[in-house]
Amino acid sequence: MRSRSRQGFTMVEFMVTIVVITIVTSVLASSAFRFLQEQRLRQSANELVSYLITARARALREATVSGKACEVELNGSTKTVKPTTHLDNICNVSPSLPPLDLLLASGGSDLTITSSAGSSPFLITFTRMGTVASTNLSSATVVTLPRIFYFSNDSAGATQVQRCVLVDLNSMHLGWRNTSAAATCTYDGN
C-alpha cells in the first residue's frame, strides 16, 4: 500500500495555491506600479531642479554685464523647460541652454505641472548674483517667493502623491505631499 505523503496534490490544493499566488502577485504588481509612478514624478522634479541649477550657474558665470540675466520658461502644457527668447537672456545666447522635456526625461506617460502662483508658461529669472529676480525679463509681473511647482500624475488609478519643487531667492528644495492628506509639502531634510 502507498503512503499518503506520496499521493501528490489534490485539485483543491492546487487551485488554492494558484489563487493565493494570483492575489499576492496582483497586490505586489499594483504597489510596484505605484512605486514606479512615484519614482517617475520624483525623477521629473529632480530634472527640473537640475535644469534650474544649470541656469543659475550660467547666470552667475556669464551675466557679468549689467542688464543681462538667465531666464527660463516652464511650459505646463508641453511639459518643457527652455530659455526664453528675450534679448538680454544670456541662456538663449549660442550655445543656448538646450530645452528639456520633463515627461520624456522621466520616462513616464502622464504628467501635470501646476504652480502656486501665475499661469503657464512660468518664468524664472536668475540674476547675475544667482538669486531669483523679483520680476522677469519678459514680464513685469511681480514674482512672489517662494514659488512652488507641483508635479502629479493624472491618469486613472494614479496615486495622490505629488512632488513639490520650491524655488526661493537663493535655494531650491525638493519635497512631496499627499493631496488627500496635506496642503503643504514636506521637504527633504538636511
Binding site: 542688464g67 540675466a69 544667482g130 523679483s134 520680476t135 517662494p146 520650491l166 531667492l169 531634510g189
Partner: protein, 339 residues
C-alpha cells in the same frame, strides 16, 4: 531437542535482521525533505532581502545627504557673496537701527539679531529668525535651527535693486547656528555678528555706524563664514542722508547721534580759506566732491605735505584748513594722512 535445521533457521534469521539493520541509513544521513529546503530558502531570501535592501537604502541616503550638503555649501557661498556685495556698496554698516537717522525697515524692528546696511536712502537688513517664523508657504523647506533672512528692496532681473518696490523679507540661508539654551531666539553672537574694526566704543550698548566692519555667520554644521567690508570712498557726495549741525561756528555735516564715534565733515569749498577743526576724541572724516587729482594738498597754505595734525586742501581758489584729519575721501579714492 532442537534439530539442526531449526537452529540453522534461527541463526540465519538473526543474521539477516542484523544485516538489514546495518544496511539501513542512519537518521542523521537522510538529507532534507523538500519542505525543510523550501523553508530554509525562503528564510534565507527574507534575510538577504532585508540586508540588501537596508544596504541599498543607506547608500541612497548617504548620497542624497552628500548632495544636500553640496547644495547647502553652494547656497551659503552665494548668500555670503550677496551680503558682501550689498555691504560693500553701502555707505554704512551697523548692528542696530538706533544709530540711523530717519525711517528704517519695519520688518527689522523686532529685537532679533540684526545687521543693517545703508545705501543712498536705501536700508537693507539681515536678521536671523526661527524657521517657524517664516510664512506657512515655506512648509518644511528650511530646517534651521536659525534661518538668515534679508529685508530690503528686491532685485530686478538686470541685477539692480528695485527701489520702487516695497522692501520684502526673503530667506538667504538655512542651517544657521543657535545655542541649545537660546529658547525661542536666534542669538546675535551665535548666529550673526557685526563688529567694527575701528574699535569704536558702543553707544548705549549698540555698535555705532561704521564704514569698516567684520561680519561673521556661524552655521550649525560648525562652519563659520566671515568677511570684512569697507564702505567705498565717498560713494555719493550729494549725501541726502546727511544732516547739518553747527559746531563752534563751523558748518559741520554729520551722521547719526552727536556722541557717535565718527565726525563727518563736508567742506563747502566756497571761501578762500575756511577752518575746520576735527575732534581729538573722534574719527574725523572729510568728504570732497571731485577726484583727488583736482585738489592741491599741503600742510599749510604755504608749504609742507598734508598730515593728521594739519591739512590744507585747495581747488580753484577755494580752500579749507583742517586739523585732526583721520581720512580724506574724494570722489575716486580715499587717503589717510600720515601722523
Amino acid at each position: 531437542m532442537e534439530t539442526d535445521a531449526s537452529r540453522l533457521r534461527r541463526v540465519m534469521k538473526a543474521c539477516s535482521s542484523t544485516v538489514r539493520a546495518a544496511l539501513a541509513p542512519p537518521a542523521a544521513q537522510r538529507g532534507f525533505t523538500l519542505v525543510e529546503l523550501l523553508v530554509a530558502v525562503s528564510l534565507g531570501s527574507v534575510v538577504l532581502a532585508f540586508l540588501g535592501g537596508g544596504l541599498l537604502l543607506s547608500e541612497l541616503k548617504v548620497s542624497a545627504r552628500v548632495q544636500r550638503n553640496l547644495y547647502a555649501k553652494d547656497a551659503a557661498n552665494r548668500a555670503i557673496d550677496l551680503m558682501r556685495r550689498e555691504a560693500s556698496f553701502s555707505r554704512f554698516f551697523a548692528s542696530n537701527k538706533l544709530v540711523f537717522k530717519g525711517s528704517v525697515l519695519t520688518d527689522c524692528d523686532d529685537g532679533t539679531p540684526i545687521a543693517y546696511t545703508q545705501r543712498n536712502n536705501v536700508f537693507i537688513c539681515y536678521k536671523t529668525v526661527l524657521p517657524s517664523d517664516l510664512p506657512a508657504a515655506y512648509g518644511s523647506a528650511y530646517q534651521g535651527p536659525c534661518v538668515l533672512v534679508r529685508v530690503g528692496p528686491p532685485y530686478k532681473p538686470d541685477g539692480t535693486l528695485d527701489l520702487s518696490a516695497t522692501p520684502i523679507v526673503q530667506v538667504l540661508l538655512d542651517g544657521v547656528a543657535k545655542t541649545p539654551h537660546a529658547g525661542t531666539l536666534c542669538p546675535y553672537t551665535t548666529a550673526l555678528a557685526v563688529t567694527s574694526s575701528l574699535d569704536s566704543p558702543a553707544i548705549g550698548g549698540v555698535l555705532p555706524l561704521t564704514r569698516d566692519a567684520n561680519v561673521s555667520i556661524n552655521l550649525a554644521s560648525g562652519v563659520r563664514y566671515s568677511f570684512s567690508v569697507r564702505a567705498p570712498s565717498n560713494p555719493a557726495y550729494d549725501g541726502k542722508d546727511l544732516y547739518e549741525k553747527s559746531v563752534a561756528g563751523v558748518t559741520l555735516i554729520g551722521f547719526g547721534p552727536a556722541d557717535e564715534a565718527s565726525y563727518h565733515f563736508r567742506p563747502k569749498m566756497d571761501s578762500a580759506s575756511e577752518s575746520m577743526p576735527g575732534s581729538d576724541s573722534k574719527e574725523n572724516i572729510f568728504y570732497f566732491q571731485h577726484p583727488l587729482s583736482e585738489y592741491t594738498l599741503r600742510e599749510t597754505s604755504g608749504s609742507g605735505s598734508c598730515t593728521y595734525a594739519s591739512c590744507y586742501v585747495e581747488r580753484g581758489g577755494f580752500a579749507v584748513e583742517m586739523t585732526n584729519v583721520d581720512a580724506l575721501i574724494f570722489a575716486d579714492q580715499e587717503i589717510r594722512p600720515s601722523t
